[in-house]
Subunit: 320 residues, 2 copies
């Protein structure tokens, strides 16, 4: 069935009126009227078939990932997502594909308190771009630049699953079926850590989301904060089965440089440890202390025997 | 020369501090602190090589068009552009291509009072997505829905040049060299009508920009406003040489359904005619009255002899 672009927008992407939205989809721009006393934070991410997802994945999985990646940026700032704009290049207007895509996108946006207020569609191989606008109490955003010597370094969830899932899908790893399914699930359905991010506003000194690999992303915090760090490799959280199945030479690169984790990486004063554990528990998000910030620059990863792990490739380079 | 993504962002897309920007490029999101008493309007447009521009065009022309298309949406709302986010898929990080692209983007953004606050880059065939955030006095935005029976219909600039330029580039028209150059210039370097858009805030009842063709875009105003219109074809503004060179069977489809004009289409009470002409003159933007809104629905295009022009194809369908 063929649909015109405007019918498509009307039928599948129209949303109910929402607080702060004077005008949503359907004009040249949406109109927002922000409240006083809040900061707005805004971020954009583009995902391409064959690069960020497989074009043959279920459309609901693609929608989940496209939105999760953007929500994760809001989590990393401690923000409440409010408004979304979606641009989509699609090979054709295929309702069987679009309906589950749009349904998942709308459901997930609603779940996290965000409203789709604008968009653009065009014909082409699958490309999705979301711009997301969030809000948070004035002056409280979590930045990359606040880490202080002596801070403990924390990460949420488990690392390396998405990277292992990708290697499995590319035929470079052969994991047992149940382990592979967990890892592919992590690749296709990352969980943005929004509740944890907001809970960290008064607790963390610096934060970001791990999207390009732990070592590279921690490097951004270190650079922005002009500090260094010691990481304790055995304490990096991952799926126990991966730790059991994979030799360290395979496992550590997945944990340190795998990318696509969309977990929160943050630093906080040691005295905040009880409050952090309580926030993690309240938000249903496991967290793990993986190292410590130091004044001296550089990143040192120590193995169980105290020896230093050589960091060859720090993470995902989008132009490698 | 090969560059990392982060070096690329730092070197070419970093911008100076700007009013209202607490945090720009370099963290997971930018932080904005909007002023009270203003409405924010936000819009997004995705442009793909081979669909919206030719991949072999000069990078400065591509940058101009990508930004102009987005600025034109702000003009159509009567907004002052403030913040931009750019997502780019690029086949490689080629400085010889990127430097003129970024320079043009930054210069044009600065010219119109906008600041780049975020972005995303990835590898792929050229795709550019800009999200633009503008501001305007609370409650004053120009919408598509305000047209009233009796309003005069106006359009800025000249129509059909970009469409003729595209036909020329595709070898489907053979215009004299100087005429072809004017038309290709209109295709590659559309001029967003921002000053006119802002001047129209107290004068126009409805407005939008003509991007998909006059007939289709006017149709959106008619639908949103629940009115109809009579258009006077001989009064449609275009390049005199096109009117001289092309038969009506070629010319009128270019004017009515060509697309890519990025001119302002607006309706206003007849009593505002002197003020509209004065605003057009003050903003250096020619405007032309091309018809009238009527209560009865439908769009009727009349030729010089009073007969009705049959509208076959209303405009550009992104999925044709």
């Amino acid at each position: 069935m063929s649909l015109g672009e405007f019918d498509f927008i009307r039928r599948h992407l129209h949303t109910a009126p929402a607080e702060g939205v004077l005008l949503g989809i359907g004009d040249d721009a949406a109109l927002l009227r922000p409240r006083a006393g809040v900061d707005y934070c805004v971020s954009t991410d583009m995902l391409l078939a064959g690069r960020h997802f497989f074009g043959d994945e279920p459309p609901a999985d693609i929608a989940h990932k496209v939105l999760a990646v953007n929500l994760s940026d809001m989590a990393a700032m401690g923000a409440q997502p409010r408004y979304l704009l979606l641009s989509a290049a699609l090979p054709q207007l295929d309702e069987a594909w679009l309906v589950p895509f749009c349904r998942q996108l709308q459901a997930m946006a609603a779940e996290h308190g965000a409203t789709l207020v604008g968009g653009d569609t065009t014909r082409g191989d699958y490309v999705f771009n979301i711009t997301i606008i969030g809000e948070l109490p004035a002056g409280q955003a979590l930045r990359r630049s606040g880490a202080q010597a002596g801070d403990e370094i924390w990460v949420s969830g488990q690392l390396g699953l998405a990277a292992a899932g990708l290697q499995q899908r590319l035929g470079r790893l052969r994991l047992p079926e149940n382990v592979a399914a967990r890892c592919v699930q992590a690749l296709q359905r990352p969980q943005p850590r929004l509740a944890l991010g907001r809970a960290l506003l008064p607790l963390a000194h610096a934060a970001m989301d791990v999207s390009d690999g732990l070592a590279q992303d921690l490097g951004h915090i270190l650079q922005a904060s002009a500090v260094g760090a010691d990481l304790d490799l055995p304490s990096l959280p991952t799926l126990p089965a991966l730790r059991r199945l994979l030799p360290e030479q395979t496992l550590y690169p997945l944990l340190l440089a795998g990318g696509d984790d969309y977990e929160l990486l943050f630093t906080a004063a040691a005295e905040n440890r009880p409050a952090i554990l309580a926030s993690a528990s309240a938000s249903g998000t496991p967290v793990c202390c993986i190292g410590r910030i130091r004044a001296e620059s550089g990143l040192c990863c120590r193995q169980a025997d105290g020896s230093v792990w050589p960091l060859e490739r720090q993470g995902y380079d989008h132009f490698d």
